[in-house]
Amino acid sequence: MTSTSLSTTETVDSQGEWEPKIMAFCCNWCSYAGADLAGTSRIQYPTNARILRVNCTGRISPEFILAALNMGADGVLVSGCHPGDCHYTSGNLKARARWALMETAIEQAGVDPRRVRLQWASASEAQVFADGVRTLTEQVRKLGPIRREWV
């Protein structure tokens, strides 16, 4: 596990303005494919998210989300198959169960829970995926850069 402390570099765009950094975890079977379809459909959405592919949202440990926030992600997106559609039967349900606890945990740690977003987007829901990225990006933009308020 990395020990790097909060990032000091903040992304700035060409106009020198701060741009939110979004870490996005997507499952391979629904949301990653949905993001693919957003591309093939040429749906345009903010550039802020970096997608990390995992087989299943069930793979996503709360630790990953906390680590991302700790390392300076302004927002974290987790996107998977709709409940009932999981390629692995029920991994997304496990992710959903963990999510509630994780939200409480980050809130107690002083991070606004609006910085994290759990969404279901199927392989055909390119627009849903793109809208999710946009929503979170705009939400985070309003909240401003992440700070470790508890330090």
Partner: protein, 582 residues
């Protein structure tokens, strides 16, 4: 992993994809940045990586620069990951030492109007991938042999068909049937539709062929009592129900054709109160005779009533919500046949579901023979009253909007198909899940109706859902094809991207057992305290257990915590040296 002999030497190949990527993303800048990342021994951009030229380039550079990791930044890995894995494999690298970055679907195509930010995103993604690549590990390409024998559970029409097909294809079959006789439900029927033959006519030649076939070992009055192992190598214990003797067999694949049971509709329409009220299945089993005789007194039957959907299509009644599929057509056929021998035949129904080939014709034929069809309301079931030896039936006819009454000599209840009573036992034995109808779930209800979530175990016929005999036969041949597919290959590759328990870290909490949807994790009770072990052949690689393990004792190969977190770090906290250009 750096500092070991396996010092990463990563090759990064950035694809233009014509203008698709290069039109938005500054691919040269991306390649240039990559060339400065730690561990990168070579980086270049190329017009089409997937083309023959691109593939050749990768192979050449692997040799030339002694590369031991490859990153291709191009399109979605969902499209070309298998292509590039094959390429690196052909160049002598393990396929798991490849990583792909999606610059097309996830960058250039969805950020077409923001080339600078898109390039920035592309740079981040490539940096993340390179970081991951340096952590990638060789994973063994695991193959297991498939034993050339298939276990067929159930000797009904589906089981017989599957056994014969497999044997005709040149593989061995172990056919296990719990009753003393082969043939199942079909063997008992006199009014099989849509043919004019009896069930016995159909099933006899099948049984004969099965018995004659040297490749098929038949165990009647037997049940599978234990089942273990994994795809290609299952262990099966079969118990003879008469002698109680158990014998052990090894098979490569399994086809479950445990079929159905006709529902005994106790509590419906006075069933049981008169011998002249019987189910369609019981009618089918009556000996064939010139004249239909009342069971109560042996007098000829003049008037018959059929009632449909008995124990089927009942919302909210567990195990009876489904349509039993075969009954409408079976009723039409039986009613049309009987009409030649009795004066009046009446069919009470909700919907007429004569959907199959030739079925609509039965319905039409029945009507032409003046079988009377009367629709009763969905929630107002007909009343069957037995007084002394007289049966009276009262119902509301929807279409005439009238209350009607009839005194039949015989009432035939088209009762539901339900799973056999030992279905739960079977489901546990083979780790099969069941749906609301009580029958087994296929792997995918649309595209994989014959396979299950237990790799190597197939289902066919009424084991999967209510089905007629013809449909069961199709399923059976299909399931046989799945089994033969495994056996013909002789070996099956099992995904190496499976999870693994580090015994020293396991705290015996059992959390992973509840997390796994495939029963792939069990506790090794021989250890004290018992520790979790993954049966790799059963693992589907979702990684849910790894995330769930509170002791970080589970490694999900090819998706390790380390591999994931290093990407997060590469995105968010690039050290000055790895920011590139530095």
């Amino acid at each position: 992993m750096s500092g070991t002999e396996d010092e990463p030497r990563i090759g990064v190949f950035v694809c233009h994809c014509g203008h698709n990527i290069a039109g938005t993303v500054d691919v040269e800048a991306v390649a240039h940045m990559a060339s400065n990342l730690p561990g990168v021994a070579f980086a270049a951009d190329e017009m089409f990586m997937c083309s023959d030229a691109g593939q050749t380039l990768i192979k050449e550079k692997i040799k030339e620069h002694n590369l031991n990791r490859v990153v291709v930044a191009s399109c979605s890995p969902r499209m070309h990951e298998p292509t590039f894995r094959r390429v690196v494999e052909e160049a002598g690298l393990n396929r798991y030492l490849f990583d792909q970055v999606n610059l097309r679907e996830h960058v250039s195509w969805c950020h077409m109007r923001e080339p600078e930010l898109a390039t920035e995103k592309a740079i981040d993604l490539v940096r993340m991938s390179v970081a991951r690549a340096s952590k990638l590990q060789n994973l063994p390409i695991k193959k297991v042999n498939v034993l050339p024998t298939t276990l067929v559970v159930g000797g009904g029409i589906a089981g017989l068909r599957a056994s014969l097909d497999i044997a005709d294809r040149g593989f061995d079959v172990l056919l296990v049937e719990k009753t003393p006789k082969l043939g199942g439900n079909v063997a008992k029927w006199t009014h099989l539709f849509p043919s004019d033959e009896t069930g016995a006519d159909i099933i006899k030649p099948l049984i004969r062929d099965v018995k004659k076939n040297k490749r098929i070992k038949i165990l009647t009055e037997s049940k599978v009592s234990e089942f273990d192992g994994y795809i290609g190598n299952f262990g099966v214990t079969v118990k003879n129900l008469k002698t109680e003797k158990e014998e052990r067999y090894e098979v490569g694949a399994v086809i479950v054709t445990t079929g159905f049971e006709p529902f005994k509709p106790v509590g419906y329409y006075s069933y049981g109160e008169s011998p002249d009220i019987l189910t369609l299945a019981e009618l089918q089993e009556l000996p064939r005779s010139e004249q239909l005789l009342k069971i109560s007194n042996g007098k000829p039957v003049k008037k018959v009533v059929f009632i449909g959907c008995v124990g089927s299509r009942q919302p909210g009644v567990k195990g009876h919500e489904h349509c039993s599929r075969h009954c409408c057509s079976a009723t039409a056929k039986a009613a049309a046949d009987l009409r030649d021998r009795v004066d009046e035949v009446l069919v009470l129904y909700q919907d007429i579901r004569t959907y199959g080939k030739g079925h609509e014709e039965f319905h039409r034929m029945a009507r032409q023979k003046h079988v009377i069809y009367s629709k009763f309301p969905q929630n107002e079931y007909p009343d069957v009253i037995v007084k002394k030896s007289k049966i009276t039936i009262k119902w509301r006819d929807v279409l005439a909007d009238e209350d009607l009454e009839f005194e039949p000599d015989m009432v035939v209840l088209a009762s539901a198909m339900i799973p056999p009573e030992d279905v739960e036992e079977t489901s546990h034995l083979f780790s099969l899940t069941r749906s609301g109808d009580g029958f087994f779930n296929p792997e995918h209800i649309k595209l994989a109706p014959l396979t299950t979530h237990t790799a190597g175990v197939m289902i066919a016929g009424a084991a999967q859902a209510a089905k007629n005999a013809s449909e069961s036969v199709i399923d059976a041949s299909g399931a046989a094809a799945k089994a033969v597919g495994l056996m013909a290959q002789g070996e099956v590759e099992i995904e190496s991207t499976v999870s693994h328990v580090i015994p020293e870290l396991c705290s015996s909490c059992h959390t992973c057992l509840t997390a796994c949807a495939y029963n792939a994790i069990s506790m090794d009770e021989t250890k004290d305290p018992p520790i979790a072990v993954v049966t790799e052949a059963k693992c589907h690689g979702c990684g849910t257990c790894a995330a769930a393990c509170p002791s970080s004792a589970i490694v999900m190969y090819h998706s390790t915590d380390d591999q994931i977190l290093t990407m997060v770090e590469a995105f968010l906290c690039p050290s000055p040296s790895i920011q590139g250009g530095g």
